[in-house]
């Protein structure tokens, strides 16, 4: 079963991975150890592959640093559900293939430490026998994700989804 790590509103990219711990600074092999180093110091050592993150509003505001979500990916974070996402960060999540779901209700209903199971293809999370539904991503992204990622899509088609 996966653990839920719950965060509040306005979690910024410096929270997710402080600039001083960029792979550029500490090395590609080590940077993920500093995910949430300031905000939630016990996170990186304890997160298990498959765990999910819950955020509030404006998740990922701030820097364009893709290595922030890449640290989460390296640690095996399976998805992020938030009430809203900052624009650049949302693109980064999609580009890295980290499922990012928008929901006003799920972040309210789940609590930190909950044990859940999920199926992100159909957009569902279960806690015990309660089921929570997640809305599907926008069409453009579905087209990209169907090929794996936006990079896979571009490589295969030589163009972006929706481009003739």
């Amino acid at each position: 079963m996966a653990r839920v790590w719950k965060f509040g509103d306005a979690v910024n990219t410096d929270d997710i991975l402080p600039g001083k711990y960029a792979p550029f600074m500490v090395g590609e092999d080590k940077f993920q150890r500093y995910a949430f180093a300031h905000l939630q110091p016990e996170f990186a050592a304890n997160v298990q592959p498959g765990d999910i993150l819950i955020g509030g509003r404006n998740w990922g505001l701030g820097s364009s640093r893709e290595y922030a979500p890449r640290a989460l990916k390296k640690l095996g974070v399976a998805a992020i559900v938030a009430k809203s996402f900052a624009r650049i960060h949302y693109r980064n999540l999609v580009n890295l293939g980290i499922p990012a779901f928008l929901s006003d209700t799920v972040p309210e209903l789940l609590t930190d430490g909950d044990k859940v199971t999920y199926d992100f293809i159909s957009g569902r999370i279960w806690r015990g026998d309660e089921e929570y539904k997640l809305p599907p991503p926008p069409e453009f992204l579905q087209a990209a994700l169907a090929e794996g990622s936006i990079l896979d899509y571009y490589r295969k088609h030589g163009r972006f989804p929706g481009e003739s």
């Binding site: 001083k20 550029f24 300031h38 701030g62 580009n95």
Partner: protein
Amino acid sequence: MSSKLDLAGLTLAERILSVRAAKRVTKGELVVLDIDQVMVVDSIAADVIRIIEEDLDGVIRHPERVAVVVDHVAPAANVEVATTQKQLRDYARARALKLFDVGRGICHQVLIEEGLARPGWIVLGSDSHSTTYGAVCAFGTGMGATDIALAVASGRTWLKVPETVRVNLRGERPIGVAAKDIALEVVRRLTAEGASYASIEYHGTEAFSRSERMTLANLAVEAGAKVGLVPPSGGVLEEYDVPDWLTVDPEADYSKVLDIDLAGLQPVVSVPFFVDNVQPVKEHLGTPVDQVFIGTCTNGRLDDLHIAADILRGKRVADHTRLLIIPASSQVLEDAVSDGTFASLLAAGATFGTPGCGPCMGRHLGVLAPGEVCVSTSNRNFMGRMGSPEARVFLASPAVAAATALSGVLSLPEVVKNA
């Protein structure tokens, strides 16, 4: 350049994207567009190069449209950084990309100075403050490594046409109220997500210098905006060829209009740890300050140094306070040296760093210890941004920063001239 398209009722962002798409597009539509300029910085260079080489067959569609800037940790602070910068330097040379190496300055400042962001252009940068190019009415926006790698490889990108928030600056600006104060007031009023995915258009800016426009556009992203556009006027019209379709239609469809009466403004600070936590300086007077930092893409330009020098000339920085100044570019540094600003600031006790980002992101050249307080002219005061998570960063204008350096506690300048 003129356009045969029907652009009536479109905002500046919609106009730029429509002309490039060669069809009328409005907010909410998805477009794939050619890009005029892509900017890559050192801190994410390794990712960009890896994606281009491993995933995109090493193709670079328009090398002449790619600018590479070594600024985020310049000069290198350790072996990791030095290694990435060497890789980037070698790559830029091998692939004939424009390279702006250590000491040339902060990416956004350099692109504007080099004329690599122009009215009506689409400019993508691997840095969130790429909204700064909106100062010259270029559609400038920031993206992450994968998007930037795709843009370098393909010469194109995908974008959702943003809705537009119109900000009207009205009334007379009081002496001592800086562009920074106005930009922070906009962020306060909109909040950190009030312009998410949107374009901000700044009106009533005719009298603003290019530098002040850069400060406004720079902070657009702190309200979540995709782009922050200042309509071409004043000096911008003289310095650039502005396409005749790049004009404001008073009938344009804005999703929100914000009126700000400049006469009612006063100097402000962003109180840690949120940029939109904007409060009057008056409420924080007397807060002891360990370090004052004047620099960054927000406020590290010549006019900013002039303001600081006017306050500090012939005086000394307070005993228990460090004043760190990092000019935004080599050009700014040269100008400050030749007009005597540098000497005045040095004589007042300032210490100078190599043009670049400096400690803005807490990586080197002036990071903060636990418990320290910094007044900074930068754009982010997140927890741990400039070093220890137990340090506190107040964002302020160069005038407030300089006055604070002088007294060692958060202060208002006695008399300040607007730039």
